[in-house]
């Protein structure tokens, strides 16, 4: 267990992994602790979260068109392995 505090440079270096939830639980907690007490780093975190939300909003709603899905199902039904 490592309870040492992070400075801003350390916290920001871990921010990407933190936002992807890829840190150890211990380090997730340490970054969260730093963000809770540091407005400067919290601003960075909000910026990154807003950015990620915008990408999700723009790209995640796209669906395979129904006629394409139907065509693929049809191709599967008639496909015979070479």
């Amino acid at each position: 267990m490592n309870d040492s505090r992070l400075d801003c440079a350390e916290a920001l270096a871990l921010l990407q992994d933190y936002l992807k939830d890829e840190l150890t639980p211990d380090n997730q907690r340490r970054v969260a602790g730093h963000l809770a007490a540091c407005g400067h780093c919290l601003e960075h975190e909000h910026f990154e979260r807003n950015f990620l939300a915008a990408i999700q909003r723009a790209a995640k709603g796209i669906r395979c068109p129904d006629e394409v899905a139907a065509r693929i199902r049809q191709a599967l039904r008639s496909d015979t392995p070479d």
Binding site: N50, F51, A54, A75
Partner: protein, 188 residues
């Protein structure tokens, strides 16, 4: 008269739910709907023929993405006009825009950007950056899964994702400044 629909196979059950995911990734990789449709169909048919080699109970999503990406590289990329390799100078230049948060104190500018501009900015990334952004930030895959799909080390995924996001943020910031959504920073 048509008979009752054929029973759903294990392949259909495990693979077809990922059609939207495959289409989204294919669309961002190819940059055009017609090519994306063909790429998804090729991927599904290749997966069908390779179904025996798929380990039941493992992650079909990762398996399909690997097939899709390999198909893209082998059959589609040559047709694309965009450069496949990363322009390191441009990437580094964007990566140095460390003060981006300070230019958006209210956190509003991403919210104000229209989806088409965001998609255009993603599509304008070099391919190596684009694919990690799509797999990570659109589809939510973790580092290990992305590394497996792309066949590169986790450290490479992390550094590409970092640089891809900085470049994308830089492009979106430029859009936002052009559109008057934000004012340029003091030193811009």
């Amino acid at each position: 008269m048509s008979s009752a629909p054929p029973a759903e196979t294990a392949f259909e059950r495990d693979v077809l739910p990922h059609m939207d995911l495959m289409y989204r990734v294919a669309l961002r990789l190819t940059g055009e709907a017609a090519a994306a449709e063909d790429l998804v169909q090729d991927t599904v048919l290749k997966a069908f023929r390779a179904w025996d080699s798929f380990r039941q109970g493992t992650n079909a999503r990762g398996w399909l993405l690997t097939i899709l990406r390999n198909s893209f590289i082998n059959d589609y990329r040559r047709r694309r006009r965009a450069p496949a390799l990363v322009d390191l100078d441009v990437a580094e230049q964007h990566a140095r825009l460390d003060d981006q948060p300070g230019q958006d104190p209210e956190g509003e500018f991403f919210h104000s950007l229209v989806d088409d501009r965001i998609l255009a900015a993603i599509d304008g990334l070099p391919e190596e950056f684009r694919e990690v952004v799509v797999l990570s930030d659109v589809e939510g895959l973790g580092y290990a899964q992305i590394a497996e799909t792309l066949g590169v080390p986790v450290g490479t995924v992390k550094s590409r994702l970092f640089r891809a996001r900085k470049q994308l943020q830089g492009t979106l910031l430029e859009y936002a400044i052009e559109a008057g959504i934000v004012r340029p920073g003091k030193d811009a």
